[in-house]
Structures are given as structure tokens and as C-alpha cells.
């Protein structure tokens, strides 16, 4: 069949792009001089701390999110759309900006502590849990709970014995996602963590850029990859075992009917309010110089006074960021659309690619950046400093998100529509365009906006690939934070607010294509 070739070609292209960094890490990591890093006790301390912070972050995120998930998806709530938006937007905010916002918010004594890291991670991931679990919770047939109650179960027992078993796969899925994201978190830890207590990602970066011990970095990257893959397979198996067919319906949200309901609603509003505080703290901090209100930091980033090569004007940094992000967005959308179509075609032929789909999400930005760096050093051609490396890395981070956004839409298309188009005389390409193309079109705009926002704020891959004289905004923020003094901190906050503003514009302009998310 001709369409089989059409299906395989994009799979090949996407797989090649996404797998290149992974394969180069595998090859570099499997050597004895790389694996030697596993003999060091420091390595195991780092792995332990990485796992600990990921575990705590995940538990806190899920615990904070569940009551809000209930209120937002089962109860009638005032300002529901706004509240949901406030809870979910943090997920796409630049990691270093969030890290900096928490530094601006938290007292100095919490700087570099586990608490700060866990709080910032929860800020990111609460919305993810609300979305993943809420999507399932809102479809639970409310009569299941009625049955439990009329059989004599008090409300809490009904929750434990009826609702919870039904939610378990979704809770596990969101737990796995949050664990994966926090285990491989980089930007937040670079900004908020203590240098004395690195995670695997930070250590890979330190070994690569500071001690130039590439073999050890490759060994660590391999360890990280193995842990993520094993965790993904384990969680997929767990989810399959707990999955069940519970009756689904679109039950209308109910008015609050108990003290618990009222507490959950109150909690939801408080949580939404709480999530706005770090961003507010950051904005206010960028306007404070000495002990008064001032635009000093904004003036300083616009025209840095240092005069050294390290002080680059904000205008040129923003231009660089936008140029990279534009290229990355283009590439991510092409890869994402091709990837989603390929998975969809393969699924229709009975091949399940769910795990393969999650894998690129699990490959961390640092692995992508480090892998591409290895290719650029050891590859047939020396590509170091090549302008396209940065957008390439950013697009590989963003492409899986584009895929995740488009796949449900592709899956929801009734295949009979294509037959209808075909019977009306449309050729295969025209039929595809008339049905799928139109429907994906709008969603692609939304996905492109998301890819652009992610690329703009991307830190993990960019940190390995960017040239020193051409930093992006997140790189410059981290660089400023690495230097002492109020002026550098102030400038960093001002740059962070600029990046937030650009991200907000991009997301708002493309919002209509993303209503499904």
C-alpha cells in the first residue's frame, strides 16, 4: 500500500532527529572511562539527592492539586476558566524565570534549600496534575458514587472505595509525568539549588563546561537516561494493571453540598492566588533599587555600563532569542505534525506507540543539549558554534509537546469523514487536506505558540549549545545570577520580566488554537 510508505517516511525523519542526541549519549556513555564515574561515591550522593527532590516535589504537587482537581471538575465554580488558567499557565513558563521568582519571593534563609526547589517544582506541576486527573474525574459517572452511598457507605468510604480506584491510573500517570519532569529538572535547580548539592543534570553541566570532563558527563547522562526509561516502563505497566472500564458520562458539575466541598473550593481559590504570588514578587522586585521604586534595572539591561564583552545589551539578547525561537518553532511544528501523523497512521495499523510517544518527553533537555554537543564535537564535521545548533536543540525539546497537543485531535477525527471526502471525488491528498488539514490547522497555531514559548524559555539544551557571545535571555539571566551584587540580581529580574512579557504575548496571541489543552 502506498500510504504505508507515507507513514514510514515521517516516522523515520522524526525518530532520526529525536534519537540522534540519545544515541550519541549512549555511545559516549557506554565506554569504560565514562562508566568510571559510577565508582565515585559523589555520583551516588547526587543520584540520591536527585531522586529525593523529585519524590518530594511529586508528592507535594499531587497533594496540592487533588482537592483543586475535584473542585474544578466536579463542582460548580465561579471564575472556573480563569482559575484553571492560573493553575495551568505556570507549566509553560521559563524554568529560570520561575526559579528567580522564587528567589525573589522566599527569604534568604531558604535560598539553595530543598524546600525552595520543591515549592518551585510544585508551582510548575500542579496544573499538570489538575489537567491529567481532572480529565478523567470529570467523566466519572456520578451515579457510581450514588450507588456507594445508598449501599450505606459514608462519603469518605465512597471516595476511597469507588472514586479512588477509578482515578488511580490517572493519578499514577500524572505522578509519573511530574516525577519525570522534576527528576530531569535543570533550570530551576541551577537558579534555586545549592552548588554544594547538585542534581544529575547540574552535574552533567558542571562536568561538561567547568571541568571539561566529557566522559564522566556522558556516564552520568547515560545513568539518567536509564533511570528515566526504566521508570517510564514501570509506570506504563502499573497503569495498564490498574486500568479499568468504569462507566463514563459527562455529568454536570454539582453545587457544593458538604463541608468538604466548601473546603475544596476555598483551597482551589487559595492555590490559584498562591500561584500568582511568585510572579508578582518577581515583577515588584525588578522595580526596586536600593530602597525605592525605580526603573534602574531596566535602564541597565538596555544599556549595560560594564563595557566588557560579557555585558550585552538587552535588545541584542532579545533579538537573538527571538531569532532562535522562530527557527525552533518552525522546526518543532514540522517535526511535531509529522510525528503525530506517523503515530496516528501506525496506530490505525494496530501498532501501539504510546511508550515511544512518552520517551521523547522523558529525554531531558540536558540530554538533548549534551547529545547534540557530543555530535558537534565528535561528528564527521565540527559543528561547534554553528548557529542552527541552538534552534535545533530547542525544537527537539518542543516537538514532543506539539505531538502531544495534536495527537488527540487527530484521533478524534472520524475516519469515515475521509471516506466521505474520497467518495465525493477527492484524491488522497486532497481528502486529507479537506478533513485532517483543516482540523489540525487551528490546533497547529496553538501548538506553534506553545513551541515558541518553550523555545524562548528553553535553558537545558541551549546552555550546552549557545555561543558565549550570543546568549539567549534565560542564559543571560543565569549568567547574571552567577555574579555577585545587587546590580546583577536586579538586572536578572528585569530580564526575567521582559521574558515573561514576551512569553505572555506569544501565548495570548495563539491562545485560540489551544482551547483543548
Amino acid at each position: 500500500m502506498r500510504s504505508r510508505g507515507l507513514a514510514i517516511a515521517p516516522v523515520g525523519v522524526v525518530a532520526l532527529f529525536l534519537l540522534v542526541p540519545v544515541i550519541s549519549v549512549l555511545f559516549a556513555g557506554i565506554r569504560p572511562e565514562s562508566l568510571h564515574v559510577l565508582m565515585e561515591s559523589r555520583t551516588w550522593r547526587i543520584i540520591g539527592f536527585t531522586a529525593l527532590q523529585a519524590l518530594l516535589s511529586t508528592v507535594v504537587s499531587v497533594a496540592l492539586a487533588l482537592p483543586a482537581t475535584y473542585a474544578l471538575h466536579r463542582l460548580r465554580l465561579r471564575l472556573r476558566r480563569l482559575t484553571l488558567a492560573v493553575l495551568t499557565v505556570p507549566f509553560v513558563l521559563p524554568t529560570v524565570v520561575v526559579g528567580l521568582a522564587f528567589r525573589a519571593l522566599l527569604p534568604e534563609s531558604l535560598n539553595g534549600t530543598l524546600t525552595a526547589i520543591v515549592l518551585a517544582h510544585a508551582f510548575f506541576n500542579v496544573g499538570l496534575v489538575v489537567r491529567v486527573v481532572g480529565g478523567v474525574w470529570s467523566r466519572l459517572d456520578g451515579r457510581m458514587q450514588d450507588v456507594g452511598r445508598t449501599l450505606g457507605m459514608p462519603p469518605f468510604s465512597v471516595f476511597r472505595r469507588v472514586t479512588l480506584p477509578y482515578l488511580r491510573p490517572a493519578i499514577l500517570a500524572s505522578t509519573a509525568l511530574v516525577a519525570m519532569f522534576t527528576f530531569t529538572s535543570f533550570g530551576v535547580i541551577m537558579v534555586l539549588g545549592s552548588p554544594a548539592q547538585p542534581t544529575i543534570e547540574v552535574e552533567i553541566y558542571r562536568r561538561t563546561t567547568q571541568i571539561l570532563d566529557i566522559p564522566a558527563a556522558a556516564g552520568l547522562a547515560l545513568v539518567q537516561l536509564v533511570i528515566v526509561v526504566v521508570a517510564l516502563i514501570w509506570s506504563a505497566a502499573l497503569q495498564r494493571r490498574t486500568a479499568m472500564l468504569m462507566r463514563q458520562s459527562s455529568a454536570p458539575p454539582l453545587p457544593m453540598s458538604s463541608k468538604v466541598d466548601r473546603l475544596c473550593v476555598l483551597w482551589t481559590y487559595l492555590l490559584a492566588l498562591g500561584l500568582t504570588i511568585p510572579v508578582l514578587a518577581l515583577s515588584l522586585r525588578s522595580l526596586r533599587a536600593g530602597n525605592q521604586w525605580s526603573l534602574q534595572w531596566y535602564q541597565q539591561i538596555a544599556a549595560p555600563s560594564g563595557g566588557t564583552t560579557r555585558d550585552i545589551g538587552a535588545f541584542s539578547i532579545v533579538t537573538t532569542s527571538l531569532r532562535y525561537a522562530a527557527l525552533a518553532t518552525l522546526l518543532a511544528v514540522v517535526l511535531g505534525v509529522l510525528g503525530a501523523m506517523a503515530v496516528q497512521l501506525a496506530t490505525r495499523r494496530g501498532v501501539t506507540l504510546e511508550a515511544t510517544l512518552l520517551l521523547p518527553l522523558g529525554v531531558s533537555a540536558v540530554t538533548i543539549g549534551f547529545g547534540l554537543l557530543l555530535v558537534s564535537i565528535h561528528g564527521p564535521v565540527d559543528l561547534r558554534g554553528w548557529t542552527f545548533l541552538v534552534p535545533l536543540g530547542q525544537s527537539l525539546v518542543a516537538a514532543p509537546l506539539v505531538m502531544m497537543l495534536l495527537l488527540p485531535i487527530l484521533r478524534s477525527i472520524d475516519p469515515r469523514l475521509r471516506f466521505v471526502a474520497a467518495t465525493l471525488g477527492a484524491g488522497p491528498l486532497k481528502a486529507w487536506w479537506a478533513v485532517d488539514g483543516r482540523l489540525i490547522g487551528r490546533a497547529t497555531v496553538g501548538a506553534a505558540g506553545l513551541a515558541c514559548a518553550v523555545s524562548l524559555g528553553e535553558f537545558g539544551a541551549t546552555a550546552f549549545l549557545a555561543r558565549v557571545d550570543e546568549p539567549t535571555i534565560p542564559l543571560q539571566i543565569v549568567r547574571l545570577l552567577g555574579r555577585p551584587g545587587e546590580a546583577n540580581f536586579g538586572s536578572a529580574t528585569a530580564l526575567a520580566v521582559v521574558l515573561l512579557a514576551i512569553t505572555a504575548v506569544v501565548l495570548t496571541a495563539t491562545d485560540r488554537g489551544r482551547t483543548q489543552w
Binding site: 451515579r143 445508598t150 449501599l151 472505595r161 469507588v162
Partner: protein, 208 residues
């Protein structure tokens, strides 16, 4: 004093629309079939009696004692829906024993619904009629003082519906459980019940 259930002047509105208007009904030690077209508020009435929905005004009593202040799980009134709504993560036996601590009743109820040996089966392996019989056994297991049946055969084909109608009547009589059986099928209503009432006749000023 009235024996059994008494509903007086019950009014329910949902988003400005009247679902039930000044409904009054009494049910003693008997099986009452409640007839009415779909959307006429039959399910709403059952949900109010069971306690999973609150009426706007009116009162519901049992042997003269107020029920509205009693939460659903303490009313001891069973509810069976059109869909069996079995818990998919539990076996048939665990479904039946869900509302009772007495595991010995499982075998007894399984033989009452003529499904002995089904205790370890999973709900997804049952046919529609079998699943509905298990739902009925599950509702009877905690020995409720009354059973509410909301078009329990609505999803089944005609032959099965006929045989189940007789079976359920026998089951309710043998366990001495009074019941309200909601349906829009007159033949079924007269076959199962001691008394047949039309929902429209119970309301003082029908919204329709």
C-alpha cells in the same frame, strides 16, 4: 401515623426549571409501579427519596420520622439504576458484599438471583441481564427497608425484560422489601406491582 414512606408536597427545580411540583405519595408494605414519560421527573423523585439529591421544599418521612436530615448512607434505602453500574475493579461477590459486612449473604443472594458460582467472576464477563441481577442482589444485600428501581430493565430486550419482571417481583416478595418501580412500560408496571400510579396524578399543579 403512617406506616412506611410518605412524601408530601415535594418540589424540585433545576436551573429555574420545575422538575417536580407539589408531589405527594405514600408507599406502605407493597410494590408500587410509577408510570410517566421520560423527563417527567421520575428519577428525580427516586434520587430525593434515596438522599442523593435534596428537594427545594416538601418533606419525606419513614414511619413518621423525618428522612431529609438523614444522609443517604444512613437511610437504608437501596437504589438500582437502568445501568447495572457494577464496580469494575471488584468481583461479582465483592460487588454484592460491598454494602454489608456479612459475607455469608453472598452465596445466599447469588442463589436467589439464580447465579450460583458467579462470585469470582469479573463484571465485564457478565451479560446485560446477569449484570442487572447482580446489581439487584447488591442493593438487597444490606437488607434495605425499601428498594427504588429506576427503569432497571430499560436497557434490556423484551424477552429478558418479561422474565426478569417476574423474577424481581418474586425476589422482592421473598425478602419482604417494599419497592418503588419506575418505568414507562404499562405492561411491565402491572406485571410487577401491587399498585400502579401515574406520576402526573401525584402532583398538584403539573408543570406540563
Amino acid at each position: 401515623m403512617v406506616n412506611g414512606l410518605e412524601v408530601v408536597d415535594l418540589c424540585v427545580t433545576y436551573e429555574g426549571q420545575s422538575l417536580l411540583s407539589h408531589l405527594t405519595v405514600r408507599v406502605g408494605d407493597e410494590i408500587v409501579a410509577l408510570l410517566g414519560p421520560s423527563g417527567s421527573g421520575k428519577s428525580t423523585l427516586l434520587r430525593c427519596i434515596a438522599g442523593v439529591q435534596q428537594p427545594d421544599i416538601g418533606c419525606i418521612t419513614w414511619n413518621g420520622v423525618d428522612l431529609l436530615t438523614v444522609p443517604a448512607h444512613q437511610r437504608s434505602i437501596g437504589l438500582v439504576f437502568q445501568d447495572p453500574l457494577l464496580f469494575p475493579h471488584l468481583t461479582v461477590g465483592r460487588n454484592i458484599s460491598f454494602g454489608t459486612k456479612d459475607n455469608g449473604r453472598v452465596a445466599e443472594l447469588l442463589s436467589l438471583i439464580r447465579m450460583p458460582g458467579y462470585a469470582d467472576r469479573k463484571p465485564e464477563t457478565l451479560s446485560g441481564g446477569e449484570a442487572q441481577r447482580v446489581a439487584l442482589a447488591r442493593a438487597l444485600a444490606p437488607q434495605p427497608r425499601m428498594l427504588l428501581l429506576d427503569e432497571p430493565f430499560g436497557a434490556l430486550d423484551t424477552d429478558l425484560r418479561r422474565s426478569l419482571t417476574a423474577e424481581v417481583r418474586e425476589l422482592l416478595k421473598s425478602t419482604h422489601t417494599p419497592a418503588i418501580h419506575v418505568t414507562h412500560d404499562e405492561e411491565e408496571a402491572y406485571a410487577i406491582a401491587d399498585r400502579v400510579v401515574h406520576l402526573a396524578d401525584l402532583q398538584r399543579s403539573s408543570p406540563f
